[in-house]
Amino acid sequence: MGARQPHGDMHKRQRRKNVALLLALIGLVVVVYLITIVRMGGQ
């Protein structure tokens, strides 16, 4: 059990990083979409 702890922790960290990356990419797509809408409006 004790020996598994570091691996479990590592997986948890990796999962958090994957979620953060996914959220950043979704955010980027949303921002680019909004920019396109605003610029198409003549700004």
């Binding site: 570091p6 590592m10 960290r13 990796q14 958090r16 990083k17 953060a20 980027l28 921002v31 680019v32 909004l34 920019i35 605003v38 610029r39 700004q43």
Partner: protein
């Protein structure tokens, strides 16, 4: 001594990163405290520039300035991980502490830089994106890789990188560089040496150990104090330029004149006092000085807009 320490530090950082970095380590790579001042001066440039910009595009422009500054900080930490491991102030950063692989930090910094520059071009204009790329390139290649370890003038010339944000904010609105924007650049450019040399005065031992030729290490504390006074005097006059050029009015002029007097009082205290306390006070106040100066610029502009409306 230094060579051995450098080798050991690099090896240690490279050997122990297997644990995996936390999300917080990636945030730390972006130097959030430095980023806050960069963002604030960028916002000031955006607000005082003549013209209009859609609030969403303004927000994206500020985000791009923040992300690009953070990315440059990450690349700086990647390059400086050997000397960061030696200095007490920086040895707990993710790379020297061994919590992150160097390649991971470099990839993170480069990717964020490219995203921020491209997004700035798409959201505002390509002149602003070009200036953002120039600021990043200057910080990484000119300051970090070329000047920092070679000359005591490192932060004088390298300070130009930190002076870009208000110009980028200005250009995001106008599309071109004006003399009023260059005045804002000049203020930060002249502010940087007294700010960093005040820090270096009481961290000289750390810099010497890491082999970084900061002015107090190379020329000694007395010469550094004289240089601080010289730059502070020129800075106080330069800080009045926005009022002289019409970018700001009476409110800004009065606030900045008072701030300038306080800055000079603390600077002359450093000149007379050979202890650490005066240098620490000047370093702390210099951050507040720049923050309040740009806050006065924003307040002045907004009060004028209110008057017109």
């Amino acid at each position: 001594m230094t060579d051995t320490s450098l080798t050991t530090a690099t090896k240690t950082a490279g050997d122990t990163f297997a644990e995996g970095a936390r999300v917080g380590d990636f945030v730390a790579l972006l130097k959030p405290r430095v980023m806050s001042l960069v963002v604030f001066t960028g916002i000031a440039g955006l607000i005082v520039a003549p013209g209009r910009i859609h609030p969403l595009l303004a927000a994206v422009a500020i985000m791009c300035i923040a992300v690009a500054a953070g990315a440059a900080g990450a690349i700086n930490m990647w390059y400086d991980r050997d000397i960061d491991a030696i200095m007490a102030r920086t040895r707990h950063r993710p790379l020297p502490a061994g919590r992150m692989a160097p390649d991971e930090a470099l990839a993170f910094g480069v990717a964020l830089s490219l995203f921020a520059i491209m997004l700035m071009g798409v959201a505002t204009n390509w002149m602003a994106a070009l200036l953002l790329a120039a600021a990043n390139g200057f910080y990484v290649f000119v300051y970090t890789m070329w000047l920092k370890r070679r000359t005591p003038q490192n932060i004088v010339i390298g300070g130009a990188a930190g002076a870009f944000p208000p110009v980028i904010g200005w250009v995001a609105v106008t599309g071109h560089v004006d003399v009023e924007a260059l005045a804002l650049f000049l203020i930060i450019f002249l502010w940087t040496p007294p700010h960093f040399w005040a820090l270096a005065l009481y961290r000289a031992g750390d810099y010497a150990k890491a082999g970084v030729p900061m002015l107090p290490v190379v020329a000694g504390p007395a010469a550094t104090r004289r240089q601080i006074v010289a730059y502070a005097i020129v800075l106080v006059f330069a800080s009045l330029l926005p009022a002289a050029l019409g970018t700001a009015g009476l409110l800004y002029g009065v606030v900045v004149a008072m701030l300038g007097v306080a800055f000079l009082v603390l600077t002359f205290a450093v000149w007379r006092d050979t202890g650490e306390a005066a240098a620490r006070r000047l370093f702390a106040f210099s951050i507040l000085y720049l923050f309040l100066l740009f806050a006065a610029l924003i307040a002045d502009r907004l009060s004028n807009l209110g008057g017109i409306g």
